[in-house]
Symmetry: D2
Subunit: 360 residues, 4 copies
């Protein structure tokens, strides 16, 4: 129980369901004196928002955040931020179908098994709409990190069998990412991804992919040696997002076929600063940041909700089929990018504060 | 700071360095009344122990645990267990080399960056020897889980480009795993893996791989809906182990190229019990256990310590080379298996207790 | 940092300032299936509300709670509750006085010292108005406890030098407490307390007192043996309330002059059930509940805000005086009672869930 | 469950029972680079040790600590400290008496109720001997605090009806405290206390008292505004100690009879530094340190174990009597002082680190 918080010192707690009145997030541990307003939160919320392009769901949610506390005269006070985002598009839908059937790939059955019943409207607490407030919290974390010279950029690396060419992950800019609706900084791959997504949608199907998220400017020394390794906390952060089935950093699963003599990144010194000549370690050694860019990837499954009928059972075990009417993303990746950035930002903000506490 | 604990209710805290007097683990939250003695811990410690076969390091550590507390008259008391494992094989080595040089792939540099200095003897706190006490804690967790009918088996799925054929992960037995020194239940692949490891060692190199860990008997309903998803806690657990660069469960990174219509596991009912006809979801939906086997995989890098010289720098940035003298595993995977089993057991034990707390 | 949560499994996190738009509390860990609506929260909020009688502040705050999440079809879902209480009575006051002066007895100076600046409107985060959402959370905890047969009643034991005669703390009823505006179940003492409070107010002064809070029906075995003793968590709970300078349970500070032979409560058995013949241990032995009523007391200081001028300094250290204009309680005790009940309820709800998790 | 840790960033976890092989404490969060050896721990352990004077128990325990980890070349490494203290004086006693009877005032019954059975040898986990490792951890915390100019001194304020005259709590020195065996810096009161304790012992009885603990040099700004108020964490720290039934700070329960006009400490400025002209607030305002000495008091009950027979029942409810044979303190206060100092030091060390993490 009590699993709705993330972080030790920069601590994010969320509440809300997709068809309740509102979502709220409390962020405990924001340092005082940081300029902040709702306008700082809106851009990432807009990147996460449904209805933003032809390849995302056409649902409409304005997702306008209201800061309820923790800001005074335009600056954070050091006391907890509460951010409210109301739910507007609560259609008075007929949920009798979903109420009694288990949607494949969703948490309907496991929620019933866990809690004995569930809020069946749009997934309730299991809805990915919960990430709205995470993205708001991530925007706060990004502001904190920016004061330390740290930037975070995520993008779509792969959709189906189309993989982007990214020569230098640490050089990708937000502008390059936002230059197309699929959020892939390789324009040629982006075009093919968009075509694939449209084709998949036309086939009443969905498609998975891989997102890559990069943090630059993280100084060496963040992360704890044993359980709270930075890589471990980032893995938890990413796997806490809906639809993620895999996490890797640096060379990732590629290490399985590598020799140590190739895989080790040699140390070198540039102008007296120690670094490595390559970054197969994805910016973390022994779970602690090395000063090189932190590069992680997430495997995101194809959307579970499909317009085509799927085999399932009712709550009492009778065979049936279910199909989801409209309004779902045929590919989650474009809207996943800001969610993953947010979780990386929250994780790094937490370790930033933990690092501050450390020295005598 | 304070990152040396794992779990909320079944809470494991470790201390110790590879060349200090001893490691100790405190396990807080073990339920009372469970039969337990040191003999329960020894088998997994023996599986993790160095020097167990020709393809592991030849270091000798008896790794005999001593239970200091929490057991009375052969049963756990409900008060914290402390388990001590002394370090015996502390060679009075010459550490001047490692003291002033950064070993590629190790945490030497990042520890220096974080703490200002480090215990340079054998990696100090960053040594994988720390997992000894995790394995002891894992053995306690396994006993607790066994009382709930839950079993955990891990094995080597891949070494280099050799991948085992495993038709049914949930059917693999401990006996099949322990039937060969590489801990791969596919005998034919195992033989080739052993040959590859020996060849790699002869070349003064090392090789990576993938381990798969399976939990059977976990009832539906374990795991929390949002941040403390079971998949998220398992990801953190695995990434908290040294040398792990990737984690996936179920279809894992394979979801990137999958269509939703293929990827969704259809629900069905067998004798009134609801289940799915396939297990691409690796036993977790919405981050909550579904009742199907939980199947996770970890990518493990090739051993960083190599007998051959590698490029690096001294603490003050001067170029140099370093080579590690003997006694290192050419492939970490065989000894990684009990470590990963332990972390899965600890994670599940924690969620077992959390689940108990939940209902009214 | 991140000090705005209380509890491990029944976990309460609050945010909000007295003159911001709203307070919000997230309660993580409420078991599923418990009937709950805003109407369950209102009675205790009304008991805490300003303006409820002639001896409390005359400020007006309706304190109507809105449940934003965690309830579906009239029952808790097992997902976190968020409760919103908006601030209505935000007078567009002239704060120039308080802005630059430190009010004696308040947190103005320590907030400035901690955070570098502060929200000076009505105390900001340090305002006792924050307890509004604690009282709402406490009402939820009380409902949970009631399902276990546990009741909580608090009352005013002492105001100034007037001490109530309470023969049997465990027999005091809510009706007796609410029978008068000072919330003292000894009617004769209550009358004198009211007269004292009115006299003190007429003198532009304030007066302290002692509240006693009793929990009945707590079964033996709640609380943890070492740091998380039930008495320790209750002490923290009560000292986390504004204006509390002391905590005791059972014989309390009276043990200082007691002999062991008098102070030990002899064990006896009644119809096979083990109990003690007296309750100087206040229902807790070794920090674990004994099955007897839990009886705690809090010392509450006289209101720091006074209409009469008090010596202080400005932010830059210049001597000055400050007096608070109207609208303050001359005695905090009557409105303190529901706050203390709430904190006891939250603490017990947490240990209730922890106890459930314990056994094999 | 999992209630054997204290602190967020300076985190102390203990394990061990009075008649097991050893106690161990893991301290997670000790900053790196602090000189430390076992010799730093011994003085406070000697002050806590049984058998130190004619008015304490005559049991003999050398209580020599061994640091197992976290120190390298005489300095802390930033990784967790483990400290081991073995139990030497494990008499092969006949426990059949205590095994089947409930000692009044002890946790025998509540442990049985909680866990179903208990380690009955000397109280097992509930034994005050557990504080041995807390005192060791406290010595580490004191070293950390000393680097910030903070000192902690505790002493006996009251035994029975004898109360010491202490004009300036913040001026009491360790030398004054250690000048007599009762640890009371008022020599005249000390003499009478010793006589009282000896008289009580001769009567086969025990006596309670009050200890006062003072921290000087704590800068303003430590402590969190809401739940983790410094006063709240200190209250929990003290109530987590055995035999403590009450906690107060500053004016404490004396506020009940005070007027606001007397109780408020007026602010003033001395050489530009803001302070108060009195310290009825005990160094904490709004739960945050004010820069004035922190002064707390604990009510400690008379020893429950008595040589004289006491009424009780057996485990199955049969009336009987029990008397404890020798070797118990007739008054806990002299040995309580280092325990309470340790808990204050641990609490302040934790808030020291939390404070460091705070600012942008």
């Amino acid at each position: 129980m009590a699993g709705n918080s993330f972080g030790q010192l920069f601590r994010v707690t969320t509440a809300g369901e997709s068809h309740g009145p509102a979502y709220v997030v409390i962020i405990d541990g924001v340092p005082p004196g940081m300029p902040l307003s709702e306008a700082d939160l809106q851009p990432d919320l807009d990147r996460r928002r449904p209805g933003q392009s032809k390849i995302t769901t056409q649902r409409k949610e304005p997702d306008q955040p209201q800061i309820l506390s923790g800001v005074f005269e335009g600056k954070t006070t050091g006391t907890p931020l509460a951010i409210l985002i109301t739910n507007r598009d609560q259609r008075s839908a007929d949920y009798s179908d979903i109420k009694d059937k288990y949607r494949p790939g969703h948490a309907d059955y496991t929620f019933d098994a866990k809690f004995g019943f569930r809020d069946y409207r749009g997934g309730g607490r299991s809805s990915a709409r919960e990430t709205t407030v995470r993205v708001a919290a991530g925007a706060v974390a990004k502001k904190l990190l920016a004061t330390h010279g740290i930037g975070i950029v995520g993008y779509v690396r792969q959709v189906g069998d189309i993989t982007a060419e990214i020569a230098q992950p640490a050089s990708v800019t937000l502008e390059q990412v936002e230059a197309n609706i699929v959020r892939c900084p390789d324009p040629e791959a982006a075009q093919r991804m968009i075509e694939l997504i449209e084709r998949v949608r036309a086939e009443q199907d969905s498609i998975g992919g891989v997102a890559e998220i990069v943090a630059t400017g993280v100084p060496p020394g963040w992360g704890e040696p044993v359980f709270d390794k930075l890589k471990a906390d980032l893995a938890k952060a990413m796997l806490s997002l809906p639809a993620v089935l895999g996490f890797e950093y640096g060379a990732g699963f590629g290490v399985a076929t590598a020799r140590g003599s190739q895989n080790n990144d040699p140390f070198t010194a540039i102008d007296g600063r120690i670094t490595t000549t390559s970054n197969r370690h994805g910016g973390m050694l022994g779970g602690i940041s090395s000063g090189l860019p932190i590069v992680v990837r997430c495997a995101v499954k194809p959307t579970s909700s499909l317009p085509q009928p799927q085999q399932t059972v009712t709550r009492d075990g009778q065979p049936t089929t279910i199909s989801t009417k409209g309004r779902h993303d045929p590919c989650l990746l474009p809207r996943f990018v800001p969610m993953a950035e947010a979780m990386m930002a929250i994780t790094l903000a937490d370790h930033c504060l933990r690092h501050r506490a450390q020295n005598l």
